[in-house]
Amino acid sequence: MRGSTVVLLFVVGFVILNAILLAIGHLPFSVEGVGIIVAVGLTLAIYSFLYKDNAAFKFAEHLYIGVAIGYNMVIDWHQNLIPNLIDPLFYSKDVPDYTLIIPMALGILMFSRFIPKVVWLSRWTIAAIVGWGAGVTIPRSITENILVQAKSSFRPLVGPDGFGLSNIASIVCLVGVLSVLFYFFFSIEHKGAAGKLSRVGVWFLMVSFGAAFGYTVMARMALLIGRIWFLLADWLKVLKV
Protein backbone atom coordinates (compact mmCIF):
# COMPACT_ATOMS: atom_id res chain seq x y z
CA MET A 1 0.00 0.00 0.00
CA ARG A 2 1.37 3.42 -0.92
CA GLY A 3 2.35 5.83 1.86
CA SER A 4 -0.14 8.47 0.71
CA THR A 5 -2.98 5.91 0.86
CA VAL A 6 -2.04 5.00 4.44
CA VAL A 7 -2.02 8.68 5.42
CA LEU A 8 -5.40 9.22 3.73
CA LEU A 9 -6.95 6.21 5.47
CA PHE A 10 -5.52 7.40 8.79
CA VAL A 11 -6.98 10.89 8.33
CA VAL A 12 -10.40 9.49 7.39
CA GLY A 13 -10.35 7.16 10.40
CA PHE A 14 -9.27 9.99 12.68
CA VAL A 15 -12.09 12.25 11.45
CA ILE A 16 -14.72 9.50 11.90
CA LEU A 17 -13.48 8.64 15.41
CA ASN A 18 -13.55 12.29 16.51
CA ALA A 19 -16.99 12.80 15.00
CA ILE A 20 -18.22 9.87 17.10
CA LEU A 21 -16.51 11.24 20.24
CA LEU A 22 -18.17 14.62 19.66
CA ALA A 23 -21.56 13.06 18.86
CA ILE A 24 -21.69 10.97 22.03
CA GLY A 25 -20.53 13.96 24.12
CA HIS A 26 -17.20 12.39 25.00
CA LEU A 27 -15.52 15.57 23.79
CA PRO A 28 -17.14 19.00 24.29
CA PHE A 29 -18.36 20.68 21.11
CA SER A 30 -16.43 23.86 21.91
CA VAL A 31 -13.11 25.60 21.36
CA GLU A 32 -11.60 23.32 24.00
CA GLY A 33 -12.88 20.19 22.27
CA VAL A 34 -11.58 21.31 18.87
CA GLY A 35 -8.27 22.24 20.52
CA ILE A 36 -7.93 18.72 21.93
CA ILE A 37 -8.68 17.17 18.52
CA VAL A 38 -6.10 19.38 16.78
CA ALA A 39 -3.50 18.58 19.46
CA VAL A 40 -4.21 14.85 19.16
CA GLY A 41 -3.97 14.97 15.36
CA LEU A 42 -0.65 16.79 15.47
CA THR A 43 0.72 14.48 18.18
CA LEU A 44 -0.12 11.40 16.12
CA ALA A 45 1.26 13.03 12.96
CA ILE A 46 4.58 13.74 14.69
CA TYR A 47 4.83 10.26 16.20
CA SER A 48 4.04 8.70 12.81
CA PHE A 49 7.68 9.45 11.98
CA LEU A 50 8.64 6.55 14.26
CA TYR A 51 7.14 4.27 11.63
CA LYS A 52 8.62 6.14 8.69
CA ASP A 53 8.86 9.61 7.18
CA ASN A 54 5.53 10.67 5.68
CA ALA A 55 3.43 13.62 4.53
CA ALA A 56 1.52 13.95 7.83
CA PHE A 57 4.77 14.29 9.78
CA LYS A 58 6.12 16.88 7.35
CA PHE A 59 2.89 18.88 7.56
CA ALA A 60 2.97 18.89 11.40
CA GLU A 61 6.67 19.76 11.44
CA HIS A 62 6.27 22.74 9.10
CA LEU A 63 3.15 23.90 10.90
CA TYR A 64 5.00 23.84 14.23
CA ILE A 65 7.88 25.91 12.88
CA GLY A 66 5.54 28.44 11.30
CA VAL A 67 3.35 28.80 14.38
CA ALA A 68 6.35 29.07 16.72
CA ILE A 69 7.97 31.83 14.63
CA GLY A 70 4.68 33.70 14.20
CA TYR A 71 3.86 33.46 17.90
CA ASN A 72 7.30 34.69 18.95
CA MET A 73 7.13 37.60 16.49
CA VAL A 74 3.78 38.72 17.86
CA ILE A 75 4.94 38.37 21.47
CA ASP A 76 8.14 40.27 20.65
CA TRP A 77 6.16 43.06 19.01
CA HIS A 78 3.71 43.45 21.88
CA GLN A 79 6.02 42.85 24.82
CA ASN A 80 9.27 44.29 23.58
CA LEU A 81 8.98 46.75 20.71
CA ILE A 82 5.77 48.52 21.77
CA PRO A 83 6.53 49.08 25.50
CA ASN A 84 10.30 49.59 25.11
CA LEU A 85 10.54 51.55 21.87
CA ILE A 86 7.34 52.67 20.18
CA ASP A 87 5.40 53.91 23.22
CA PRO A 88 8.25 55.84 24.90
CA LEU A 89 9.43 57.33 21.61
CA PHE A 90 6.22 58.13 19.75
CA TYR A 91 3.38 58.08 22.27
CA SER A 92 5.04 59.33 25.43
CA LYS A 93 2.96 61.66 27.63
CA ASP A 94 6.20 63.34 28.79
CA VAL A 95 9.25 64.25 26.76
CA PRO A 96 10.00 61.42 24.32
CA ASP A 97 13.11 59.37 25.10
CA TYR A 98 15.22 60.37 22.09
CA THR A 99 18.14 58.14 23.12
CA LEU A 100 16.03 55.24 21.83
CA ILE A 101 16.65 56.49 18.28
CA ILE A 102 20.15 54.95 18.45
CA PRO A 103 19.07 51.34 19.14
CA MET A 104 16.15 51.81 16.71
CA ALA A 105 18.54 52.90 13.95
CA LEU A 106 20.85 49.98 14.72
CA GLY A 107 17.87 47.64 14.53
CA ILE A 108 16.75 49.06 11.19
CA LEU A 109 20.28 48.60 9.83
CA MET A 110 19.84 44.84 10.26
CA PHE A 111 17.34 44.96 7.38
CA SER A 112 20.21 45.94 5.08
CA ARG A 113 20.92 42.18 4.94
CA PHE A 114 18.19 42.06 2.30
CA ILE A 115 20.01 44.57 0.01
CA PRO A 116 23.34 43.14 -1.24
CA LYS A 117 24.85 46.57 -2.06
CA VAL A 118 24.55 47.89 1.50
CA VAL A 119 24.73 44.63 3.41
CA TRP A 120 27.88 45.90 5.18
CA LEU A 121 25.72 48.30 7.21
CA SER A 122 24.37 45.40 9.24
CA ARG A 123 27.89 44.84 10.58
CA TRP A 124 27.53 47.98 12.72
CA THR A 125 24.57 46.43 14.49
CA ILE A 126 26.32 43.09 14.86
CA ALA A 127 29.41 44.88 16.20
CA ALA A 128 27.29 46.66 18.80
CA ILE A 129 25.62 43.41 19.86
CA VAL A 130 28.91 41.51 20.04
CA GLY A 131 30.62 44.36 21.90
CA TRP A 132 27.83 44.66 24.44
CA GLY A 133 27.53 40.92 24.80
CA ALA A 134 31.23 40.36 25.31
CA GLY A 135 31.56 43.24 27.77
CA VAL A 136 28.64 42.05 29.86
CA THR A 137 29.20 38.32 29.61
CA ILE A 138 32.96 37.76 29.85
CA PRO A 139 33.62 39.08 33.39
CA ARG A 140 30.45 37.53 34.84
CA SER A 141 30.93 34.24 33.07
CA ILE A 142 34.57 33.97 34.18
CA THR A 143 33.56 34.74 37.76
CA GLU A 144 30.63 32.32 37.98
CA ASN A 145 31.72 29.51 35.67
CA ILE A 146 35.47 29.44 36.29
CA LEU A 147 36.56 31.25 39.47
CA VAL A 148 33.72 30.16 41.75
CA GLN A 149 33.87 26.64 40.31
CA ALA A 150 37.65 26.45 40.76
CA LYS A 151 37.33 27.74 44.33
CA SER A 152 34.82 25.03 45.19
CA SER A 153 37.22 22.41 43.80
CA PHE A 154 39.95 23.38 46.30
CA ARG A 155 38.92 21.41 49.34
CA PRO A 156 40.91 19.97 52.22
CA LEU A 157 41.51 16.27 51.62
CA VAL A 158 41.49 15.58 55.34
CA GLY A 159 38.93 17.23 57.62
CA PRO A 160 39.64 18.77 61.06
CA ASP A 161 38.54 15.49 62.70
CA GLY A 162 40.86 13.38 60.60
CA PHE A 163 40.12 11.31 57.53
CA GLY A 164 36.50 10.21 57.14
CA LEU A 165 34.12 8.89 54.52
CA SER A 166 33.16 12.44 53.55
CA ASN A 167 36.75 13.05 52.48
CA ILE A 168 36.54 10.31 49.83
CA ALA A 169 34.32 12.58 47.71
CA SER A 170 36.98 15.31 47.87
CA ILE A 171 39.65 12.85 46.72
CA VAL A 172 37.47 11.58 43.85
CA CYS A 173 36.81 15.21 42.87
CA LEU A 174 40.53 16.03 42.94
CA VAL A 175 41.50 12.99 40.87
CA GLY A 176 38.66 13.71 38.44
CA VAL A 177 39.57 17.37 37.94
CA LEU A 178 43.29 16.68 37.50
CA SER A 179 42.93 13.67 35.20
CA VAL A 180 40.30 15.26 32.95
CA LEU A 181 42.29 18.49 32.72
CA PHE A 182 45.36 16.43 31.84
CA TYR A 183 43.44 14.53 29.17
CA PHE A 184 42.89 17.86 27.39
CA PHE A 185 46.55 18.86 27.80
CA PHE A 186 48.12 18.06 24.47
CA SER A 187 51.58 19.61 24.80
CA ILE A 188 53.19 16.31 25.85
CA GLU A 189 52.59 12.85 24.48
CA HIS A 190 50.25 10.73 26.59
CA LYS A 191 52.66 7.87 27.31
CA GLY A 192 53.72 6.08 30.49
CA ALA A 193 52.47 7.76 33.70
CA ALA A 194 51.00 10.62 31.65
CA GLY A 195 49.11 8.08 29.52
CA LYS A 196 47.72 6.36 32.62
CA LEU A 197 46.57 9.66 34.10
CA SER A 198 44.83 10.68 30.89
CA ARG A 199 43.26 7.20 30.76
CA VAL A 200 41.76 7.86 34.20
CA GLY A 201 40.46 11.13 32.76
CA VAL A 202 38.77 9.22 29.95
CA TRP A 203 36.99 7.04 32.53
CA PHE A 204 35.74 10.10 34.38
CA LEU A 205 34.50 11.54 31.09
CA MET A 206 32.77 8.25 30.23
CA VAL A 207 30.99 8.23 33.58
CA SER A 208 29.80 11.81 33.03
CA PHE A 209 28.61 11.00 29.49
CA GLY A 210 26.78 7.96 30.85
CA ALA A 211 25.06 10.03 33.53
CA ALA A 212 24.10 12.65 30.93
CA PHE A 213 22.73 9.97 28.60
CA GLY A 214 20.75 8.39 31.43
CA TYR A 215 19.17 11.72 32.27
CA THR A 216 18.48 12.31 28.56
CA VAL A 217 16.63 9.00 28.29
CA MET A 218 14.64 9.92 31.40
CA ALA A 219 13.73 13.30 29.89
CA ARG A 220 12.64 11.86 26.55
CA MET A 221 10.59 9.16 28.24
CA ALA A 222 8.92 11.80 30.43
CA LEU A 223 7.86 13.70 27.31
CA LEU A 224 6.53 10.52 25.70
CA ILE A 225 4.64 9.57 28.87
CA GLY A 226 3.16 13.07 29.01
CA ARG A 227 1.87 12.74 25.46
CA ILE A 228 0.46 9.24 26.02
CA TRP A 229 -1.27 10.51 29.16
CA PHE A 230 -2.77 13.32 27.09
CA LEU A 231 -4.08 10.86 24.49
CA LEU A 232 -5.56 8.49 27.05
CA ALA A 233 -6.82 10.98 29.63
CA ASP A 234 -7.70 14.19 27.80
CA TRP A 235 -8.79 12.72 24.47
CA LEU A 236 -10.12 9.21 25.04
CA LYS A 237 -10.85 9.85 28.73
CA VAL A 238 -10.01 6.31 29.73
CA LEU A 239 -7.53 7.43 32.40
CA LYS A 240 -7.86 9.73 35.36
CA VAL A 241 -5.95 10.51 38.55
Partner: protein, 285 residues
Protein backbone atom coordinates in the same frame (compact mmCIF):
# COMPACT_ATOMS: atom_id res chain seq x y z
CA UNK B 1 24.11 -17.36 17.26
CA UNK B 2 21.18 -16.80 14.88
CA UNK B 3 18.90 -15.46 17.60
CA UNK B 4 21.62 -13.18 18.96
CA UNK B 5 22.40 -11.81 15.51
CA UNK B 6 18.70 -11.17 14.98
CA UNK B 7 18.58 -9.37 18.34
CA UNK B 8 21.38 -7.05 17.21
CA UNK B 9 19.55 -6.31 13.97
CA UNK B 10 16.14 -5.88 15.61
CA UNK B 11 13.86 -3.37 13.88
CA UNK B 12 13.85 -0.24 16.04
CA UNK B 13 10.09 0.03 15.55
CA UNK B 14 9.67 -3.12 17.66
CA UNK B 15 11.51 -1.36 20.51
CA UNK B 16 9.22 1.67 20.11
CA UNK B 17 6.17 -0.59 20.29
CA UNK B 18 7.44 -2.38 23.38
CA UNK B 19 8.13 0.95 25.12
CA UNK B 20 4.72 2.38 24.15
CA UNK B 21 2.95 -0.79 25.26
CA UNK B 22 4.80 -0.80 28.59
CA UNK B 23 3.90 2.83 29.23
CA UNK B 24 0.21 2.26 28.50
CA UNK B 25 0.07 -0.81 30.76
CA UNK B 26 1.94 1.03 33.55
CA UNK B 27 -0.46 3.98 33.32
CA UNK B 28 -3.49 1.69 33.60
CA UNK B 29 -1.95 -0.48 36.33
CA UNK B 30 0.24 1.79 38.45
CA UNK B 31 2.40 -0.15 40.87
CA UNK B 32 2.82 2.72 43.32
CA UNK B 33 6.60 2.43 43.48
CA UNK B 34 8.01 4.62 46.24
CA UNK B 35 9.80 7.80 45.28
CA UNK B 36 13.29 8.00 46.78
CA UNK B 37 13.92 11.49 48.16
CA UNK B 38 17.28 12.96 47.30
CA UNK B 39 19.21 15.76 49.09
CA UNK B 40 19.21 18.26 46.16
CA UNK B 41 15.39 18.32 46.05
CA UNK B 42 15.04 18.25 49.83
CA UNK B 43 17.28 21.33 50.05
CA UNK B 44 14.76 23.37 48.07
CA UNK B 45 11.87 21.99 50.10
CA UNK B 46 13.68 22.68 53.40
CA UNK B 47 14.55 26.22 52.30
CA UNK B 48 10.91 26.90 51.45
CA UNK B 49 9.83 25.41 54.78
CA UNK B 50 12.30 27.63 56.64
CA UNK B 51 10.88 30.85 55.18
CA UNK B 52 8.63 32.73 57.60
CA UNK B 53 5.14 33.74 56.38
CA UNK B 54 5.29 36.96 54.40
CA UNK B 55 8.67 36.18 52.85
CA UNK B 56 8.94 36.78 49.13
CA UNK B 57 10.21 34.22 46.62
CA UNK B 58 10.95 34.77 42.94
CA UNK B 59 9.93 31.86 40.72
CA UNK B 60 11.19 32.23 37.17
CA UNK B 61 9.62 29.65 34.86
CA UNK B 62 11.86 29.71 31.83
CA UNK B 63 10.32 27.08 29.60
CA UNK B 64 7.54 26.58 27.09
CA UNK B 65 4.96 23.84 26.43
CA UNK B 66 7.53 21.49 24.86
CA UNK B 67 8.90 20.78 28.36
CA UNK B 68 5.54 20.75 30.10
CA UNK B 69 5.56 17.13 31.37
CA UNK B 70 8.80 17.68 33.29
CA UNK B 71 8.63 21.28 34.45
CA UNK B 72 4.94 22.13 34.85
CA UNK B 73 4.65 19.93 37.98
CA UNK B 74 7.64 21.73 39.52
CA UNK B 75 5.99 25.11 39.03
CA UNK B 76 2.70 23.76 40.35
CA UNK B 77 4.38 22.32 43.46
CA UNK B 78 6.28 25.54 44.18
CA UNK B 79 3.19 27.75 43.79
CA UNK B 80 1.27 25.31 45.98
CA UNK B 81 4.00 25.34 48.62
CA UNK B 82 4.16 29.14 48.67
CA UNK B 83 0.40 29.48 49.13
CA UNK B 84 0.33 26.75 51.77
CA UNK B 85 3.12 28.42 53.76
CA UNK B 86 1.71 31.92 53.25
CA UNK B 87 4.92 32.81 51.47
CA UNK B 88 4.40 35.42 48.78
CA UNK B 89 5.84 34.98 45.34
CA UNK B 90 6.71 36.93 42.24
CA UNK B 91 6.63 34.83 39.10
CA UNK B 92 7.75 35.50 35.54
CA UNK B 93 9.23 33.85 32.48
CA UNK B 94 12.12 34.69 30.18
CA UNK B 95 10.48 32.54 27.49
CA UNK B 96 7.63 34.29 25.65
CA UNK B 97 6.16 30.93 24.69
CA UNK B 98 5.75 30.05 28.34
CA UNK B 99 3.52 32.91 29.44
CA UNK B 100 0.17 31.24 28.74
CA UNK B 101 1.42 28.05 30.36
CA UNK B 102 2.32 29.98 33.53
CA UNK B 103 -1.15 31.51 33.59
CA UNK B 104 -2.54 27.99 33.30
CA UNK B 105 -0.49 26.67 36.26
CA UNK B 106 -1.52 29.65 38.36
CA UNK B 107 -5.21 29.17 37.63
CA UNK B 108 -4.88 25.43 38.39
CA UNK B 109 -3.35 26.11 41.83
CA UNK B 110 -5.91 28.81 42.58
CA UNK B 111 -8.68 26.26 41.98
CA UNK B 112 -7.71 24.61 45.28
CA UNK B 113 -10.35 25.51 47.87
CA UNK B 114 -7.81 26.48 50.52
CA UNK B 115 -6.30 29.12 48.23
CA UNK B 116 -9.51 30.85 47.15
CA UNK B 117 -8.70 33.92 49.25
CA UNK B 118 -5.27 34.51 47.66
CA UNK B 119 -5.14 37.92 46.01
CA UNK B 120 -3.12 38.93 42.99
CA UNK B 121 -0.86 41.86 43.82
CA UNK B 122 -0.83 41.01 47.54
CA UNK B 123 -0.07 37.30 47.79
CA UNK B 124 1.48 36.88 44.38
CA UNK B 125 2.48 38.90 41.35
CA UNK B 126 2.63 37.55 37.81
CA UNK B 127 5.03 39.75 35.85
CA UNK B 128 4.49 37.98 32.54
CA UNK B 129 7.13 37.25 29.91
CA UNK B 130 10.07 39.32 28.84
CA UNK B 131 12.64 38.57 26.18
CA UNK B 132 16.17 39.80 26.65
CA UNK B 133 17.58 37.16 29.01
CA UNK B 134 20.74 38.65 30.55
CA UNK B 135 19.55 42.25 30.11
CA UNK B 136 16.28 41.46 31.90
CA UNK B 137 18.04 39.80 34.85
CA UNK B 138 20.52 42.67 35.20
CA UNK B 139 17.74 45.25 34.97
CA UNK B 140 15.87 43.40 37.70
CA UNK B 141 19.04 43.50 39.78
CA UNK B 142 19.00 47.29 39.57
CA UNK B 143 15.25 47.90 39.58
CA UNK B 144 12.57 45.34 38.84
CA UNK B 145 10.30 48.09 37.49
CA UNK B 146 12.88 48.85 34.79
CA UNK B 147 12.42 45.37 33.37
CA UNK B 148 8.72 45.06 34.16
CA UNK B 149 6.99 48.47 34.45
CA UNK B 150 3.66 46.62 34.75
CA UNK B 151 2.50 43.15 35.67
CA UNK B 152 0.81 40.84 33.18
CA UNK B 153 -2.51 42.62 33.66
CA UNK B 154 -0.91 45.97 32.77
CA UNK B 155 -1.12 47.21 36.36
CA UNK B 156 1.88 49.40 37.27
CA UNK B 157 4.15 47.57 39.72
CA UNK B 158 4.23 50.69 41.88
CA UNK B 159 0.50 50.15 42.57
CA UNK B 160 0.91 46.55 43.75
CA UNK B 161 1.22 46.14 47.55
CA UNK B 162 3.60 43.18 47.27
CA UNK B 163 6.04 45.12 45.12
CA UNK B 164 6.31 48.01 47.59
CA UNK B 165 9.09 46.21 49.45
CA UNK B 166 10.56 44.30 46.52
CA UNK B 167 12.48 46.78 44.40
CA UNK B 168 15.43 44.66 43.25
CA UNK B 169 16.59 41.04 43.27
CA UNK B 170 18.48 41.81 46.49
CA UNK B 171 15.18 42.33 48.35
CA UNK B 172 14.05 38.75 47.77
CA UNK B 173 14.21 36.01 50.38
CA UNK B 174 14.71 33.16 47.94
CA UNK B 175 14.69 32.57 44.20
CA UNK B 176 14.02 29.50 42.09
CA UNK B 177 14.71 29.23 38.38
CA UNK B 178 12.93 26.44 36.53
CA UNK B 179 14.32 26.15 33.05
CA UNK B 180 14.40 24.10 29.89
CA UNK B 181 17.48 25.70 28.37
CA UNK B 182 18.90 29.15 27.73
CA UNK B 183 17.84 31.60 29.05
CA UNK B 184 17.34 29.80 32.29
CA UNK B 185 19.32 28.67 35.32
CA UNK B 186 22.64 29.67 33.70
CA UNK B 187 21.31 33.17 33.10
CA UNK B 188 20.23 33.57 36.71
CA UNK B 189 23.57 32.26 38.01
CA UNK B 190 25.81 34.29 35.71
CA UNK B 191 23.87 37.57 35.67
CA UNK B 192 21.85 37.41 38.87
CA UNK B 193 24.46 36.24 41.38
CA UNK B 194 26.12 39.63 41.82
CA UNK B 195 22.77 41.03 43.00
CA UNK B 196 21.90 37.97 45.09
CA UNK B 197 25.26 38.33 46.90
CA UNK B 198 24.53 41.92 47.89
CA UNK B 199 21.94 40.79 50.44
CA UNK B 200 23.34 40.89 53.99
CA UNK B 201 24.08 39.05 56.20
CA UNK B 202 23.48 36.13 53.82
CA UNK B 203 23.05 36.09 50.06
CA UNK B 204 19.74 35.33 48.39
CA UNK B 205 19.95 31.62 47.68
CA UNK B 206 18.98 30.27 44.28
CA UNK B 207 17.27 26.94 43.70
CA UNK B 208 16.97 25.25 40.33
CA UNK B 209 14.60 23.02 38.42
CA UNK B 210 15.50 21.69 35.00
CA UNK B 211 14.75 19.06 32.40
CA UNK B 212 16.47 15.72 32.75
CA UNK B 213 18.68 16.48 29.76
CA UNK B 214 20.23 19.44 31.58
CA UNK B 215 20.48 18.00 35.08
CA UNK B 216 24.07 16.76 34.95
CA UNK B 217 25.39 20.13 33.81
CA UNK B 218 23.98 21.82 36.93
CA UNK B 219 25.36 19.45 39.57
CA UNK B 220 28.67 21.37 39.78
CA UNK B 221 26.68 24.48 40.75
CA UNK B 222 25.20 22.56 43.66
CA UNK B 223 28.63 21.67 44.95
CA UNK B 224 29.84 25.25 44.72
CA UNK B 225 26.76 26.63 46.49
CA UNK B 226 25.65 28.67 43.47
CA UNK B 227 22.51 26.56 43.58
CA UNK B 228 21.16 25.51 46.96
CA UNK B 229 19.10 22.68 45.48
CA UNK B 230 18.11 21.11 42.19
CA UNK B 231 15.07 19.32 40.82
CA UNK B 232 16.09 17.26 37.79
CA UNK B 233 13.38 16.18 35.36
CA UNK B 234 10.10 14.54 36.23
CA UNK B 235 11.79 12.60 39.03
CA UNK B 236 12.75 15.85 40.76
CA UNK B 237 9.23 17.21 40.36
CA UNK B 238 7.63 14.08 41.79
CA UNK B 239 10.05 14.11 44.72
CA UNK B 240 8.98 17.65 45.56
CA UNK B 241 5.31 16.67 45.27
CA UNK B 242 5.98 13.73 47.57
CA UNK B 243 7.46 16.10 50.17
CA UNK B 244 4.26 18.13 49.97
CA UNK B 245 2.10 15.01 50.20
CA UNK B 246 0.38 15.75 46.89
CA UNK B 247 -1.31 12.97 44.93
CA UNK B 248 -0.94 13.89 41.27
CA UNK B 249 -0.89 12.24 37.89
CA UNK B 250 2.89 12.64 37.85
CA UNK B 251 3.08 9.98 40.57
CA UNK B 252 1.42 7.52 38.14
CA UNK B 253 3.59 8.75 35.29
CA UNK B 254 6.67 8.11 37.43
CA UNK B 255 5.65 4.44 37.62
CA UNK B 256 5.57 4.32 33.83
CA UNK B 257 8.95 6.05 33.81
CA UNK B 258 10.44 3.39 36.08
CA UNK B 259 9.05 0.61 33.88
CA UNK B 260 10.51 2.14 30.71
CA UNK B 261 13.89 2.51 32.44
CA UNK B 262 13.87 -1.19 33.34
CA UNK B 263 13.05 -2.10 29.73
CA UNK B 264 15.78 0.14 28.35
CA UNK B 265 18.32 -1.27 30.83
CA UNK B 266 17.27 -4.79 29.77
CA UNK B 267 17.70 -3.88 26.08
CA UNK B 268 21.13 -2.37 26.77
CA UNK B 269 22.29 -5.46 28.70
CA UNK B 270 20.88 -7.88 26.09
CA UNK B 271 22.35 -5.86 23.26
CA UNK B 272 25.79 -5.83 24.87
CA UNK B 273 25.72 -9.56 25.65
CA UNK B 274 24.68 -10.29 22.05
CA UNK B 275 27.36 -7.95 20.72
CA UNK B 276 30.20 -9.50 22.73
CA UNK B 277 29.15 -13.10 22.04
CA UNK B 278 28.75 -12.55 18.31
CA UNK B 279 32.01 -10.58 18.18
CA UNK B 280 33.82 -13.54 19.71
CA UNK B 281 32.31 -15.92 17.18
CA UNK B 282 33.13 -13.55 14.34
CA UNK B 283 36.72 -13.41 15.64
CA UNK B 284 36.97 -17.23 15.68
CA UNK B 285 35.89 -17.40 12.05
Amino acid sequence: MGALSKLLAIDRRIIFLVIAGAIIIALFLPTGLSVAKTPPVKSIYDKMESLPPGSVVLISNDYDPSSKPELYPMTYALFYHCFKKNVKFVTMTLWPGGELLMADVLSEVLKEKEFKDKKEGEDYVFLGAKVGASAVVMQMGQDIQLAFPTDRNKKPLSDLPLMKKIKTLTDLDYAVAISAGVPGIDTWIVYGSEYFRKKKPKRVELGGGCTGVQATQYYPYLDSGQLNGLMGGMKGAVEYEAHLGLKTKEMIEMDAQSVTHIIIIAFVILGNIAYFITRKSRGNK
